[in-house]
Symmetry: C2
Subunit: 171 residues, 2 copies
């Protein structure tokens, strides 16, 4: 065990330890980050075995659920910023996992869809992924998991976050 060190003073400005802040243990962003990381640590190895990152997987899943979708709409659904999405789409297209063309009525818009190759990849990854999710739900409790989901959604709403991760509300 690593006995949590906190040696006697020597450096600077430590006499006034009274920093006007609550401890990390009460930091909401930290708690959310830790929980999410604990969950993702379960999924990442499986995705990695198939050459996918978490974000690439989100995109493929989103594309698999619709026929076609525009870039901006995909960014909203997969909760990714535009720049990240642009880079990832370039890569996924090069790997033949997605299809892309230009909207004939509005040449600014890109229209995306998953390829059959992408579909096959999803079919390979999904079973393990679902099994992992089931394991988490089992250990934590399905009922409790649903309650957590609900509380997270309410937190988002109470803060006013139905926007993409970017979209600052001052526009």
């Amino acid at each position: 065990m690593s006995e949590t060190r906190a040696k006697v003073a020597r450096p600077a400005a430590k006499d006034a330890r009274k920093v006007p802040m609550r401890d990390f243990s009460q930091s909401l962003p930290m708690a959310l980050l830790r929980a999410r990381e604990a969950v993702m640590r379960q999924f990442r190895p499986n995705l990695r075995q198939h050459g996918l990152t978490e974000q690439q997987w989100r995109i493929l899943r989103a594309l698999a659920a619709v026929d076609v979708i525009e870039v901006t709409e995909l960014a909203r659904v997969a909760f990714l910023l535009g720049p990240s999405l642009s880079r990832i789409l370039r890569d996924l297209e090069a790997r033949g996992l997605i299809l892309r063309e230009v909207d004939s009525r509005d040449m600014r818009r890109g229209v995306l869809s998953i390829s059959s190759k992408g579909m096959k990849l999803i079919a390979q990854v999904a079973p393990s992924s679902e099994a992992i999710y089931a394991s988490i739900a089992s250990r934590y409790g399905t009922r409790k998991l649903a309650a957590l989901h609900k509380m997270l959604g309410e937190l988002e709403l109470s803060i006013g976050g139905d926007l993409a991760p970017d979209d600052s509300g001052d526009g």
Copy 2:
């Protein structure tokens, strides 16, 4: 609402829409990500005004809570990976916000502490930060927030995540 597009089929492999996966709306990592992002969107502008990123702020807070601390222990407390921490420490040290020296008994170990300049910066940032947190707690409900914290902690435990964001358990 922006009418969710899902045009009629035309691309490939969309006849077999039966992808064996639950919808995004039931994705736990996604829910945690969205909630965290909604929260962080409140804090980021304030931090940015003071030239700090979220991670730099986490480090300063962690350092302010102790006299001295080792790099590895700081990584655990601030929930950062080694490589990220190395880069950030280099920057914070160059900006004079932290102090660093080598452990005399074990020259591999680095010993960190916050500088008085770093202390002053915290004193500048903390009030707004606390106010934002109070606003969130007020809107969401203090009681409910505590319950959420508890459930997040339990989720971590049930998955077995008392490790740093790295530390795969195969070592």
